[in-house]
């Protein structure tokens, strides 16, 4: 992911987290985003992170962190514990994103999900015309070393959200660090969504 896109995504998330919100950042990395949310929005935040080096950095930022694999589930968080659960550039690397996203609606009221858009024209060009697995500034990995396990597009996500019964409260798209307004599925390198649940999910009373 380009640095400029990363910055844009971070700003978008911070803008969409309410003041003093309780936040869970799934795959929080070194805690840079959480730290900003705590400082700038007065959020009460906690994170889950799998890499020890990142966990250590996050703790040294004064954050509360769980060192572990998010895929083990969120059952150690009480129902409705959070106002917002963040999955920033995480879901494409998860084994079972559907299961975890559903569970996120048990512990949180709203979700912020961001992901690299596989429908971007460069990816389409490389796969569709050149016949090569895409390697773009947004998806910069070779096929044999990519951490990405799922390739999704803006259209895929919106269909998925609708099928899951989630309402899109707001969305944003970015390319080269600048907002994308038209034809996002073709032009956006990454997408950002704020969602809430329309009806309680089947695992609500988990």
């Amino acid at each position: 992911m380009r640095e400029s896109n990363r910055k844009f995504i971070e700003e978008w998330i911070i803008e969409h987290v309410p003041e003093r919100a309780r936040v869970l950042d799934v795959g929080c990395g070194d805690g840079a985003l959480l730290e900003r949310l705590v400082k700038e929005k007065g959020a009460r935040g906690t994170g889950i992170e799998i890499e020890e080096a990142n966990v250590r950095k996050a703790i040294q930022r004064g954050l509360s962190v769980h060192h572990g694999d998010a895929e083990e589930g969120l059952d150690h968080y009480a129902d409705d514990k959070f106002d917002v659960v963040i999955f920033s550039l995480t879901i494409q690397e998860l084994g079972h994103p559907q299961r975890l996203l559903r569970e996120a609606f048990r512990v949180g009221k709203q979700l912020i999900v961001t992901f690299p858009n596989f429908g971007h024209w460069q990816a389409r060009w490389q796969l569709g015309i050149l016949g090569r697995a895409p390697s773009t500034p947004c998806l910069p990995y070779t096929w044999f070393e990519t951490p990405n396990r799922h390739y999704l597009t803006v259209l895929d996500w919106e269909t998925f959200a609708r099928d899951e019964g989630w309402r899109i409260l707001d969305k944003g798209f970015v390319s080269c660090g600048r907002p994308v307004r038209f034809f996002p599925n073709l032009r956006a390198e990454a997408a950002m969504y704020l969602l809430e649940e329309i009806a309680p999910s089947p695992i609500q009373n988990h």
């Binding site: 906690t46 966990v55 250590r56 703790i59 930022r61 509360s64 060192h67 059952d75 009480a78």
Partner: protein, 398 residues
């Protein structure tokens, strides 16, 4: 990397501790007796303790350090005439993780031990002789109750942090559930919420080694040499569980001791690892009481922070403390999973828990060796705990 002497748990720090000379204090508590978990009333109890740093005017900078099985009140600094500093000197002192420029650190010897606090080797005032097996069986809960009374005596209503590794970590967990209103934060390292069958099994072998030694004499050996062989073997067993396969392989491998070929006998020492274990066993005999080892291992085995219910989440339901849990990947005595469960239970109970598993080859000993990895985590966590607003912060303590 810290240099570790042959003696377990005592680090040879480079350079002298910033704390300089320290002093062990003694106080007699529970004149009326303490009601133990077993139902027995026992007292009076002498408590040995040390303090480092200065108590703030608001009395809100207290850190209670709880020691492990063979530790004592002397956690940091130097006692006159001793060649080594306290057992956690590397972590406690000016500018260290438990920064004595900011915090007032207290460490006391646990009930049942042999380093100044009343234990089986202490004199029974009724008979004028050592208690031996007439000393009541004590538990982690009893140890914590004694510490709580020590804090009362020192005029401390609430501590900023209770911390410890191994058996010390159990005390820290017990503090959090028994005195939630007195504990602002907990740092529990390389420990568990209750012993598993394997952990009990190792302790039972250690106890049997002592009790099988004829010199143990049903605990009545004071004034004699005592069960030297039994205690040494008990320590050897313990020591194996403190290391890891990788660390032993690296440290000893199959290297032979002062010889090129096997001795083809049983009286001499073949392998380096044998020499090491014998040294560990022998030096422990010089510094620890066999009965204390029986009592303390029993306390470890009886410990269950849920009081037998197994309902870990319920145990932490009343806690408002912030928690930091640290484990080590190669610790097979207290595997990371056990403390991870506690972290998850605290969260399930609505609490705030941070959990970090440090990658280390040192096994359980990593708790005392991996200070460079732990210190920044603990320092940052304590800073957060200091700044955290707790319920009832406006009114002062209890």
């Amino acid at each position: 990397m810290t240099e570790v002497s042959h003696e377990r748990g005592e680090l040879t720090a480079r350079g002298k501790s910033g704390l300089g000379l320290v002093e062990t204090h003694y106080v007699e508590l529970f004149q009326e007796g303490l009601e133990l978990e077993s139902g027995v009333r026992f007292g009076p109890i002498t408590v040995a303790y040390e303090t480092y740093g200065e108590l703030s005017p608001r009395r809100d900078n207290v850190i209670l350090v709880c020691h492990a099985l063979s530790g004592g009140a002397h956690a940091a600094g130097w006692l006159p005439g001793q060649k080594k500093p306290g057992w956690w000197d590397i972590m406690i002192g000016p500018g260290k993780a438990f920064d004595t420029n900011k915090y007032f650190v207290i460490c006391s010897n646990v009930l049942g031990s042999c380093y100044g606090t009343t234990g089986p080797s202490s004199l029974d005032p009724k008979t004028g002789k050592p208690y031996g097996l007439t000393f009541p069986v004590v538990t982690i809960r009893d140890m914590v109750n004694v510490q709580a009374r020590l804090l009362d005596y020192l005029g401390i209503a609430r501590v900023l942090c209770v911390t410890g590794g191994s058996m010390g970590g159990m005390q820290a967990l017990q503090w959090a559930v028994a005195y939630p209103e007195r504990v602002r934060s907990v740092v529990a390292i390389a420990t568990t919420w209750r012993h598993s069958a394997q952990q009990i099994a190792f302790n039972e072998v250690a106890r049997q080694a002592i009790m099988a030694d004829p010199a143990w004499n049903r605990g009545d050996y004071y004034g004699t040499e005592g069960p030297r062989m039994g205690l040494a073997v008990a320590r050897m067993i313990g020591h194996i569980t403190y290391l890891s396969d990788v660390s032993m392989e690296r440290k000893f491998g199959r290297r032979l001791r002062n010889r090129e070929r096997y001795g083809f006998d049983f009286t001499s020492i073949d392998f380096e690892v044998e020499s090491y274990l014998r040294y560990q066993g022998q030096s422990f005999v010089e510094r620890f009481d066999a009965n204390s080892l029986l009592y303390l291992t029993k306390a470890l085995d009886y410990f269950d922070v849920t009081q037998g219910t197994g309902a870990l989440t319920d145990a932490f339901a009343g806690s408002k403390s912030l928690f930091l849990f640290i484990t080590f990947s190669s610790d097979w005595l207290y595997p990371p999973q056990q403390l991870k469960e506690v972290a998850q239970a605290v969260r399930r109970a609505g609490g705030d828990a941070t959990y970090c598993e440090i990658n280390s080859d040192y096994g359980h000993d990593a708790f005392l060796l991996e200070h460079a990895a732990q210190a920044p985590l603990i320092a940052s966590f304590l800073q957060r705990a200091s700044e955290h607003q707790f319920e009832g912060d406006s009114g002062e303590g209890i």
